[in-house]
């Protein structure tokens, strides 16, 4: 046996509650983060990701408290991200009980932070979160793909998907690895919230271009979407939120389904 594929419930937290949006907008309430974390951990989640989507300076202390509460009820690895801009932010999160820190906008604005973090805490605690979206206006020095006769490239978006950067997602993934990322959390903005399945093309290309673990995110609506992304790409983990939040499928049920479809999972 070798490594299993990891199934990772994601808790997007806003003002202390777990929420889930469609295309990063129209947010719905989905429960208490501490209760959900415990439930997922007990049901056999391989890891948890906790994203504070309203992170701001004033909320720093609130986040630390919440991280500490969540970390004290689970015994599986745990990533925390949202608004991480400085070494101090990352340190706070790690010392509050998280195993890894997720960085998105902060790393785009200041890529050197990845190297500084690696030197302090080791590569394994650094998850670079990349939100990518198809851009049909072709420009130079991007990796161009074609789907349904249309050409496009994958552009990195920051500030929770609100602001474009002009940066090619595949190139950024490679650079992030070089600078110190230990893992990539790859979200397709095109697929996020659609429940139509993961972004196979985007995931496959980022996995091919890097040699660190990649987590696929965005678009999962049913267990078969996970089967598909694991069969169609060599991705290491699949992240999902809504299929777990609304009790349509428990974590254990999803993993049994994956096992039936010959995907190696921990049961």
């Amino acid at each position: 046996m070798t490594l299993t594929k990891r199934i990772i419930p994601c808790l997007d937290v806003k003002n202390g509650r777990v929420v889930k949006g469609l295309h990063f907008e129209s947010i719905k309430d989905a429960g208490d983060p501490v209760e959900l974390a415990k439930q997922y951990s007990d049901e056999g989640a391989d890891e948890l990701v906790f994203l504070d989507i309203t992170a701001s300076e004033e909320q720093r202390e609130t986040i630390k408290t919440l991280v500490r509460k969540v970390a004290s009820v689970i015994n599986i690895p745990f990533t925390v991200g949202g608004g991480v801009k400085s070494l101090e932010d990352a340190r706070n999160i790690l010392l509050s009980g998280a195993d890894k820190v997720g960085i998105n906008t902060g790393a785009i604005k200041n890529p050197e932070i990845l190297t500084e973090l690696m030197n302090l805490f080791g590569r394994q605690c650094i998850v670079v979160a990349i939100d990518a979206k198809r851009n049909y206006e072709i420009k130079e020095n991007t990796n161009v793909f074609t789907e349904n006769g249309k050409q496009f490239w994958f552009e990195v978006f920051i500030y929770g998907g609100k602001e474009e950067t002009g940066i090619d997602a595949i190139e950024w993934a490679k650079k992030a690895q070089k600078l110190g990322a230990g893992e990539i959390l790859l979200t397709s903005i095109d697929k996020d919230g659609t429940k139509e399945g993961y972004d196979i093309l985007l995931t496959r290309e980022v996995v091919k271009s890097t040699s660190i673990p990649v987590i696929a995110s965005g678009g999962c609506g049913k267990p078969d979407d996970m089967v598909e992304i694991f069969k169609e790409s060599n991705v290491d983990a699949a992240l999902a939120a809504s299929i777990f939040h609304y009790q349509s499928h428990g974590v254990n049920g999803v993993k049994r389904h994956l096992k039936d479809k010959q995907i190696p999972v921990r049961l």
Binding site: M1, T2, L3, T4, R6, S41, D46, R68, A71, S72, N75, I76, P77, F78, L94, L95, S96, G97, A98, D99, N119, L120, F121, G122, R123, Q124, C125, G182, E183, S211, I212, P213, D236, A237, R266
Partner: protein
Amino acid sequence: MVSVAIFDYGAGNIFSLKNSLEKLGATVDVITTFDNPNHYSGLLLPGVGNFDPAIKSIHEHSKIRFKDYVKDDTPVLGICLGMEMFFEKSEEGHEKGLSVIDGEVIELPSSMKIPHMGWNNLEIKKPGKILEGIDDGSWVYFVHSFLVKPSSNDIITAESDYGIKVPAVVEKNNFFGTQFHPEKSGKIGSIMIQNFLEECKK
């Protein structure tokens, strides 16, 4: 009630380890030097940080050497980096290791994704104190880029397969090491921490 100490190199999450020990009924102190008298029943070297800074944080804050602090009677559990530090040297750094186990620490082969991150299963080689009550094939959580290469394979009680055989659990006298993170390995990990605490009570 068993009283243990976690040595903090100041480089990451030790909250989870402390929390898991306390849940099992231990009283836990976090220490940053070996210069105070050792009144603990056990010591834990956590698995966060890098080899050189961690070794340096021990040397710089302690006049008493690690070996003299734990002698041959305090059980020590080294987790991941903590276990790697038991050895003589590591390809991760230039500092000399704690040298309580003969052998070295080398990088994982680059043919595989590094870090080796995720759940892998244990191939139990021989009975061990930490492995009491653990079934062959049990899942544990790894996250590491280096592996230990003991001079004697006799001390390896469990391995894991990541393209090559990765020593997963080692036991030598009062030194116990796990390459994976028991504090992050769900119920299985909890049993191993309990086993270590039982050893501390003796």
